[in-house]
Symmetry: C3
């Protein structure tokens, strides 16, 4: 679908901007900022492509992604005063981004014949692992392992997609409902401060 | 060999449990704990598969590993009080795990035609690199670079395997002796506090 | 070209020595030092090979690199007193190293048919990403994101190579001028303390 491709580029753009913001907080130089923007935007999809053996990775086969990230970096610097005021809009697009990344990642995994459980994992990896690579390169503990309900909506969305897809619904409906579902779960999670329980093997010891 | 496959799954199970324990110490949430368990258990084999070009990686082709890790995570939480008392048993299984991972990694490398020195490296990577990826994702210095004699038994085992294999012994004997050798070296190393010399270019400067 | 292959091995050797030096500063053991030497020397090329799908990775197909790194580790320890006095020579060879890594990485990317912009990226990744992986494994912030003008000469060299190559010059001239260009830019950058501007979205906010 054309629309999904455009949404993918928009997600890439927004992820890249969030990468520049993190790099700015770390006081990196412009090269470092570009690298962080890049891995944030395409790190998840790159890991997925490597694991399933779809090489060269996606952004080598379609350089549009590289240019979108370059433009995002440029915009971050040129319009930084506006971007900071746009945080709510960015959050919305970020949420659309993880929804689209999840679905495209899941579809790509299914296309190469992976089992359902792997496809859901690949969808989730596509959406959230760019942030993990970003945090590793910034020498920070990955945020999603502790603080935010970020991966759960993707896992939920992946399962939802598979159920809807097997129910015989037409593709656009499956995709639309899944995106809506991921966005709703994520917005609710943030609004109501939902978070996953921490793992704590100690407390049971007593 | 069927037995080696079972031992591989047991090793995966024990590595995943050790990953959950690390995640618990880091106060990650359940998603973070699953990711850490996962990379600890399959990180080494995944890196090996990528480097030698055996894609999709192993656990995508046989999802048994994914389910074993899920069960290990569940068991960690449900039986955590017992697991802590089982530390000696876990250490034993962990040692069997690195032995089996080494052999299977080495065999897989030989199967795709890598030279002997690469095969030994791939065996060692299979056994120890899951722990490295775990430490990187936990934002810790990799343990095996400093404190524990962990990789050396694997390198020793890899070389032993190749020597035995070329001596004309039957496969089960080669495998059995190699596993025994790795376990003995590792147990001795821990018992007698063997460690590798630190690298120190400074001291020679004076 | 034979000469480029030899220069590649020399670059590998020097990168490995710089890795041992970092490992020594981190007080790793000899195994840790070998791993750090190894990833510093071949990390960039390995990532490039994975991304473009040239698997198994280069150093598996030609084990000369592995032996060069082993010899470099041995030399670091045996001749450490001299190496410290050789820092200027090492810096020169390091600079030649990044120049050669850039060109070989770029050529390999072009050989598999990547677009020009990707080829420049792959050349740069080949030259600088070994250092990034080294820093990540050492649990340090990657140096090149903040302090040194290290990647810029590679990007410059990559673009220069492509321009010269399309101008109809003979290959040896293209390679020679590109190497000279990268070395000059890097030496000037170090001599004159050039650095990239930091990214700072905050300052514009006021």
């Amino acid at each position: 679908m054309e629309l999904l491709y455009v949404a993918d580029l928009v997600g890439t753009f927004v992820f890249a901007i969030s990468g520049v913001m993190v790099a700015s907080a770390k006081k990196f130089d412009v090269f470092g900022a570009f690298v962080i923007a890049f891995v944030t935007a395409i790190g998840g999809g790159t890991l997925r492509d490597i694991l399933i053996g779809s090489l060269p990775v996606g952004w080598i086969q379609d350089v549009t992604y590289i240019f979108v990230i370059m433009v995002a970096c440029l915009c971050s610097v040129l319009f930084s005063r506006y971007i900071i005021n746009l945080s709510k809009t960015l959050f919305l697009f970020d949420t659309i981004g993880i929804a689209v990344f999840t679905i495209l990642g899941l579809q790509k995994a299914l296309d190469v014949g992976t089992p359902a459980v792997v496809a859901v994992m690949m969808g989730t990896i596509s959406a959230v692992f760019g942030g993990v690579v970003r945090d590793v390169l910034c020498n920070e503990e990955p945020l999603i392992f502790r603080k935010e309900l970020y991966a759960t909506p993707c896992i939920f969305g992946g399962v939802l997609y598979l159920i809807l897809d097997r129910s015989g619904l037409i593709q656009p409906a499956v995709i639309g409902i899944t995106i809506a579902g991921i966005i709703i779960v994520r917005l609710l999670a943030v609004k109501r401060h939902w978070s996953l329980p921490l793992i704590n093997l100690e407390k049971i010891r007593h």
